[in-house]
């Protein structure tokens, strides 16, 4: 196991290097540069600007320079925003996205797992149909419909919760509720469905029948025996789900005006702000790789049948 962990951690380093390389070149293959929108720029000024950002050097030299800077922890200057560098923009906005994502994840996990387990235990009863119905609603209605509708109902009509903002502004923790709930809806649905289907499968397995035959209490069977096995698909879903929540928060951040990382990602892609795109991609990648790593470890802990050689 220890050897496996060390191997995985060593494996992360080349993965990251490949990601940086790939995103560096992919962004530059795309037509249009960061200064393409400023039309009719005199040739001299254009050349000066390109020289300032080293865009006039051969691509391979730019790549070397960038790689060297990244290894020192410097993600470079932004091409569009002149006031601060990429590090500043990312590390002021990233915590907000992560906090929002964690809240959404917590909500989705708590409600999703309990709904899924109840549905599986009482299969084909009204509990099953109700929780799966809610789950299907969660899957069926897009985020950007749920979010404005919640905003309209809870914030504009009844004024129970603030329409927008963040911890630091105005109403404090209350402003997290709406974005987190609307963000978690789709993941709640997925988790509930996955829990139900794997729980059903586990409940039919032999060791559960043995436990039943021994006359165990059904609550003990469900929480002690079945849960552990039924968690497996949910756990393997969590890695990509976290990725989805972080990127999916782009829409939520737009609607609820949360000053998170999502805004920079979309804007910089449209602007071809090379350093900011690659910077955001690197940060996302690090988070996702770490999440997947943790998921793999938890997976192995839960399922003794899996052997890592």
């Amino acid at each position: 196991m220890t050897k496996y962990i060390i191997n995985r951690i060593l494996g992360i380093i080349p993965t990251l290097l490949i990601i940086i390389t790939l995103s560096f070149f992919i962004v530059r293959i795309a037509p249009g540069g960061p200064f393409a929108t400023e039309r009719n720029m005199p040739e001299v000024i254009k050349r000066n600007i390109e020289a300032k950002y080293h865009l006039n050097e051969p691509l391979i030299q730019q790549y070397g320079r960038y790689m060297f800077n990244v290894l020192r922890g410097d993600l470079g200057p932004s091409f569009k925003y002149k006031d601060y560098d990429v590090n500043y923009y990312i590390f002021t906005s990233l915590p907000k996205s992560i906090v929002l994502g964690l809240w959404a994840m917590a909500i989705a996990l708590t409600f999703g797992m309990s709904a899924g387990i109840m549905a599986a235990v009482r299969q084909n009863s009204w509990v099953d149909y109700l929780s799966m119905g809610v789950a299907v609603i969660g899957i069926s209605i897009p985020l950007f419909v749920i979010a404005p509708v919640l905003q309209l109902f809870f914030a504009m009509k009844h004024k129970w919760l603030p329409t927008s903002g963040w911890y630091t502004t105005g109403e404090g923790w209350k402003s997290v509720i709406l974005p987190a709930v609307s963000l978690s809806f789709a993941y709640f649905a997925d988790i509930a469905r996955l829990t139900r289907s794997s729980m059903l499968e586990t409940l039919r397995s032999d060791y559960i029948r043995t436990a039943k035959a021994k006359g165990m209490k059904s609550s003990t069977i469900i929480f002690k025996h079945a849960m552990k096995g039924a968690m497996l698909p949910v756990v393997s879903y969590l890695g990509p789900a976290f990725a989805g929540i972080i990127t999916g928060s782009i829409v939520v951040e737009q609607i609820f005006r949360v000053p998170g990382l999502g805004k920079f990602f979309v804007q910089s892609s449209f602007n071809r702000d090379y350093t900011l795109i690659v910077g955001v991609v690197i940060v996302y990648s690090v988070i996702l790789i770490i999440m997947n790593f943790i998921v793999d470890l938890v997976y192995a802990q839960l399922d003794p049948r899996i052997t890592y050689k």
Binding site: T15, I19, V27, I139, S140, P142, L232, G239, V266, V281
Partner: protein
């Protein structure tokens, strides 16, 4: 009934006179699926939707991309036609202005109510109230419009009564020498050009030159749209290349389409004059479907309908396109993206995931590193860059989405295979000399099918949602094409003012996704081999 028939064919195999009938997995699954009511309803709904989408072009609906600017933002109505709705909208506006100007007198209480609505942004309530109140007062004789307002109303009424849409279906040319009639669309470019020149009474050479330069600028514009940011010289050089690539045939095909369009516009104008005269004489009866003679040699089949007689059962969008047909055609795009996308991604995922899970070791490590790297690149970025390089069209959307979405399936399949590969039946198969491919695809994949099926039914809605997410950010399906996602995305901004634009596509989408999910769940319960004898 079936059983008794079988009994006569089968031989009893044991002393209890029992007959064992062979049962395949699919037959068994189908039997169990039929028991599940929700799944059957879901399947039927999915089939109806697919049929509607597949045969959309044969349905009696308006074209989904026909823009009528007069019909912008019309609310849905089963009974009123577009003209009445236009008039209603105008009247609402005028009554509201009259209230503001003080000529429409309401009680203080009502006035306060209106002000409260305005403060709450409830525009529709204010308008509806003004319309009802204004019409009541006008009937009672306590309110009349000012002369200017009345003129506006009269002008609109005249417009509603007289305007019509002409469509030129076919143009025929009768050769004066041979007296044979040809369809213009099937004639060659030179002939069409000559007919057009005759129609205008101009020299062929001048028109040919003009058409040629039009084609060039058309090709240039297309090229500029796909690859922006080049210098003028580069564009000039590339234009020559593009024209060469098109060849003589391609160029004349474009030119012919252009000229044909011009001929039709010309005919439309003539027909318009004629119909207007008929309307003023009072002899026109809509809808019109007939052949008119333009000059001695040209005839045309035209259809004309009254423009404001159209009915929009689900309202119109921001440029006056019919929502009903946009939702149906949007369904076509969305369902196609959902089905094709998830099929490809699940196939890729199964193959790579099972190979990684079964072979383990180096293969597993390399494949999972690739998956990790792909996970590390947020799919939004890949899709944005992909669309930017290859242009924003539906085909690219398919490819971009399928390319990045097989990862989760691969991981899940790998996890399943890893937990199955130490089981006895796999060992048994291996010891009997089954090949790796056979063990994977005949033994292990069917046994992890339940998870795969649940996941692929989760994928179809997820694909539709991803597409709508991209459309929301302006990267998905581009107008005039529609998908449910782009329709919803377009509607979100004006949702308090024009709720129908959001509600109908959202309902259409939700019902389909609902059905899809229940159908998928039913399939799961039916196909799960481990639950075979427990239902």
């Amino acid at each position: 009934m079936n059983l008794s028939l079988r009994k006569s064919e089968e031989q009893a195999i044991n002393e209890f006179d029992q007959v064992v009938v062979g049962n395949s997995l699919t037959k068994d699954a189908w039997r169990r699926l039929k028991k599940n009511k929700m799944a059957v309803i879901g399947m039927i709904v999915v089939i109806i939707y697919s049929l509607l989408a597949a045969f959309a072009m044969f349905l009696p609906i308006y074209p989904y991309d026909q823009i009528i600017l007069d019909h912008r933002h019309l609310p849905p109505s089963l009974t009123k036609n577009a003209g009445t709705l236009m008039m209603d909208a105008r009247l609402k506006d005028l009554y509201f202005k009259a209230w503001k100007g003080g000529s429409l007198i309401v009680t203080d209480q009502q006035s306060a109510q209106i002000k409260e609505w305005i403060a709450l942004n409830e525009t529709n309530k204010v308008w509806d109230f003004c319309l009802a109140e204004g019409q009541r007062q006008q009937q009672a004789g306590t309110f009349t419009f000012s002369a200017a307002d009345q003129r506006t109303i009269d002008r609109l009424q005249e417009k509603i009564d007289t305007e019509f849409l002409i469509n030129v279906d076919k143009v025929f040319f009768t050769d004066p020498q041979t007296h044979k009639t040809h369809n213009l669309a099937k004639m060659s470019y030179e002939e069409v050009l000559k007919i057009y020149a005759d129609l205008l009474g101009m020299d062929v050479a001048i028109i040919q030159e003009q058409v040629q330069s039009e084609v060039e600028s058309q090709v240039l514009n297309n090229y500029k749209a796909t690859t922006p940011d080049l210098s003028a010289e580069e564009y000039a050089a590339n234009l020559v290349l593009e024209l060469q690539a098109l060849g003589e045939k391609g160029v004349s095909a474009i030119a012919k389409t252009n000229v044909l369009g011009k001929v039709k516009t010309n005919i439309t104008r003539t027909a318009e004059r004629e119909l207007k005269r008929e309307i003023s004489e009072g002899s026109a009866h809509f809808p019109i479907d007939r052949q008119i003679q333009i000059n001695s040699s040209i005839k045309a089949d035209i259809t004309a309908t009254k423009k404001h007689d159209r009915r929009y059962y689900l309202g119109t969008d921001y440029s006056g396109r019919d929502m009903l047909s946009r939702i149906i055609y949007g369904g076509q795009v969305s369902i196609a993206i959902g089905l094709i996308g998830s099929l490809t991604s699940v196939l890729i995922g199964i193959i790579l995931g099972s190979i990684a899970g079964y072979l383990g070791g180096k293969v597993d490590f390399i494949l999972m590193r690739i998956v990790d790297i792909m996970y590390g690149l947020p799919y939004m970025l890949l899709v944005i860059i992909f669309m930017a390089i290859f242009g924003r069209n539906i085909m690219n959307l398919f490819v971009a989405l399928a390319m990045v979405s097989w990862l989760t399936v691969a991981r899940m399949v790998r996890g399943q295979i890893m937990s199955l590969k130490n089981s006895e039946y796999v060992e048994a198969a291996r010891s009997m000399g089954a090949s790796t491919g056979r063990i994977i695809f005949r033994h292990m994949v069917p046994n992890s099918l339940s998870v795969i099926i649940v996941y692929s039914t989760l994928r179809v809605p997820a694909f539709i949602m991803q597409e709508s997410f991209l459309s929301f950010l302006g990267l998905g399906v581009q107008a005039p094409f529609a998908s449910w996602g782009s329709l919803v995305g377009d509607a979100v901004n004006g949702m308090t003012l024009y709720p129908w634009k959001l509600i109908f596509p959202a309902i259409a989408m939700t019902i389909f996704l609902f059905a899809m999910n229940f159908f998928g769940d039913g399939l799961r319960d039916a196909f799960d081999p481990q639950s075979k004898n427990q239902l």
